[in-house]
């Protein structure tokens, strides 16, 4: 009788670890991601799927401006931007679909040392409500 109880308890306790993919058993959010590339006087935003996209740009501590975008091919948006002064700049893409709203932001340093601090998120001067 003892052995039986012990065996039963062990059986009950084994195989109780959480399945690593268990999140798939429940509601899954739409996947939306984007890349921001700054190169050769161009700012390029590539989204992982069809979305409404706008891009704003500002020099650190200045007002933001909205950039004119051209969509060359699906999901790739380009704006021209020439940087002539030393300093730090921000590019923020605002991307919306029915299920997601993402706002990736990139900081650009021209001729200055990058100052990245994990616990000091970017501050967009214009968008404070």
């Amino acid at each position: 009788m003892n052995k039986w109880i012990l065996l039963g308890s062990l059986l009950l306790l084994s195989g109780c670890a959480l399945d690593p993919d268990v999140a798939d058993e429940y509601v899954v959010e739409e996947k939306l991601d984007a890349e921001i590339d700054v190169k050769n006087g161009l700012i390029q935003v590539t989204t992982s799927q069809e979305a409404d996209v706008s891009v704003s740009f500002w020099a650190e501590g200045e007002e933001a401006e909205r950039l004119n975008l051209t969509e060359e091919k699906n999901g790739v948006y380009t704006a021209e931007k020439k940087l002539t002064d030393k300093g730090a700049y921000f590019v923020k893409a605002d991307i919306q679909t029915d299920g997601q709203h993402i706002m990736p932001t990139k900081k650009i340093w021209v001729g200055v040392e990058p100052d990245v601090e994990q616990d000091e998120p970017s501050m967009d001067k214009k968008h404070h409500h």
């Binding site: 009788m1 003892n2 039986w4 109880i5 012990l6 039963g8 308890s9 009950l12 306790l13 109780c16 670890a17 959480l18 399945d19 268990v22 999140a23 058993e25 429940y26 509601v27 959010e29 996947k31 939306l32 991601d33 984007a34 890349e35 921001i36 700054v38 190169k39 050769n40 006087g41 020439k82 940087l83 002539t84 030393k86 921000f90 997601q100 709203h101 993402i102 706002m103 990736p104 932001t105 990139k106 900081k107 650009i108 340093w109 021209v110 001729g111 990058p114 990245v116 994990q118 616990d119 998120p121 970017s122 501050m123 967009d124 968008h127 404070h128 409500h129």
Partner: protein, 437 residues
């Protein structure tokens, strides 16, 4: 008839010893639980000065409040933000200082004045919760509470058997205490009758409390979550998703020299989402204040919205990528599986918040009843003339074994402890047998 008497003796003996051993634990659970029901009311009174602010027209954005806290406490990390959930309520900002002490800063959302700071370790209700959940003794305490809860189930089942009226149409001594039959009968009735009245409530509190337990609760939650019928992961068991870390921290950018007057290094990096953008995402998803927003503390961490308000139906657990603001997971009550919904409702009923004051008062009545039952049970033991009950000479019926094994399988911790009792009982029997022969 003889068979029945044998059962009765065995069950009474189990009830006697289990009651004696676990009475102190159950007493602690009943008293701390009875007080904890009124956590909201007690904290409202205790922290009135920290909570209340004078409503004004415009609330400041979270980033301004964070700056104010950073200015007052330059060396701390901000870990948590709880927006004001009423016009006259302060906002809370959770901080951790360099030696790991967690504190809460109460900020006026209109003036950004810091009203006061509370060391989280000093919160009386949190201490009470620690006693209720783990007797302030960490994992060992957690297992002891779980063991006491499981044995309380055994006490209810054995007690119900002992209480079951063996003659028909009996009221006195079954559902009403006999007042004029001597003090022993009165104490017996003051144990048995209230216990019968509150047994359903006790059973409910134990079953709804067990999902919290570290051993049985975690195993059960794992099984139920795995099945797809429970809580989605990261609410009770399982990890939160991670933020999608893009490339290295700072990358050189191929920027042709013609754009710049002199060749210069151009570098770029993704920045974490600002707190105000995170708040915008939360707002757009229709989540109303009354939640805690946990701030990512490392590069792959996420913003986590966690709301466990009085009603289970309003619960939210949401994880936001700290670089893009994408909702990586957004779980509401409706997204829980049927078992998850049942556990969630059980928890808010256990805490007395689901149906407000009436819910709390019913919980309190059960707690007071438990104290009465425990005290009268101890009195019954003190009043006994012949000490502990002797081991019945004859064995236990098969049906009883099935019940014991089933309970032991369902609650392995209780099962293991029953096994220990069983072995001790055998050893004692052998030792006594050895002496007499």
């Amino acid at each position: 008839m003889e068979q029945q008497r044998r059962h009765y003796q065995w069950i009474w003996r189990w009830h006697f010893y289990a009651g004696l051993i676990f009475a102190p634990f159950l007493l602690v659970l009943a008293i701390t639980g009875g007080i904890y029901l009124f956590k909201a009311e007690i904290e409202q009174a205790l922290y009135k000065d920290l909570y209340s602010v004078t409503p004004q027209s415009e609330e400041m954005p979270a980033s301004h409040m964070f700056s104010a806290v950073k200015e007052a406490y330059p060396q701390v990390a901000i870990t948590r933000y709880r927006p004001a959930d009423a016009p006259d309520r302060s906002a809370e900002i959770g901080i951790t200082n360099s030696n790991g002490t967690a504190m809460t800063v109460f900020v006026d959302p209109y003036t950004m004045n810091i009203i006061g700071t509370l060391d989280d370790a000093d919160r009386i209700m949190d201490k009470l919760e620690k006693i209720h959940g783990e007797l302030m003794a960490g994992t060992i305490g957690d297992r002891l509470v779980e063991l006491a809860a499981c044995w309380a189930l055994i006490l209810i089942i054995t007690g119900a058997y002992l209480w079951w009226p063996r003659k028909r149409e009996k009221v006195w001594g079954v559902v009403l205490p006999r007042m004029s039959k001597g003090s022993r009968t009165l104490v017996r009735d003051l144990h048995v009758v209230p216990a019968a009245w509150i047994s359903a409530g006790m059973f409910f509190l134990i079953m709804t409390g067990l999902p919290w337990s570290g051993f049985w609760g975690t195993q059960m939650q794992n099984v139920v979550t795995n099945s797809g019928e429970g809580y989605p992961p990261s609410i009770w068991v399982g990890q939160a998703p991670l933020s999608n870390l893009k490339t290295e921290d700072v990358a050189d950018v191929g920027w042709s020299a013609e754009n710049l007057p002199v060749p210069q290094s151009v570098q770029s990096a993704y920045m974490p989402l600002s707190i105000d953008d995170a708040m915008q995402v939360i707002d757009e998803r229709g989540i109303k204040p009354g939640y805690d927003l946990f701030i990512p503390q490392d590069k792959t961490g996420v913003y986590t919205v966690s709301a466990f308000p009085p009603k289970a139906q309003d619960e939210v657990t949401m994880h936001i990528d700290q670089y893009t603001g994408a909702a990586l997971a957004d779980y509401r009550y409706d997204d829980y599986g049927p078992a998850g919904k049942a556990i969630a409702l059980g928890i808010t009923l256990h805490k007395g918040s689901q149906f407000g004051m009436i819910n709390k008062l019913i919980g309190l009545a059960v707690c007071i009843g438990m104290v009465l039952v425990i005290v009268s049970g101890m009195l019954l033991w003190r009043k006994r003339k012949h000490g502990a009950p002797a081991r019945p000479a004859v064995g236990v019926a098969k049906g009883l074994w099935v019940l014991i094994i089933l309970l032991g399988l369902l609650f392995p911790l209780a099962g293991a402890s029953m096994l220990v009792v069983f072995v001790i009982d055998l050893v004692v029997k052998r030792a006594k047998g050895g002496r007499t022969t």
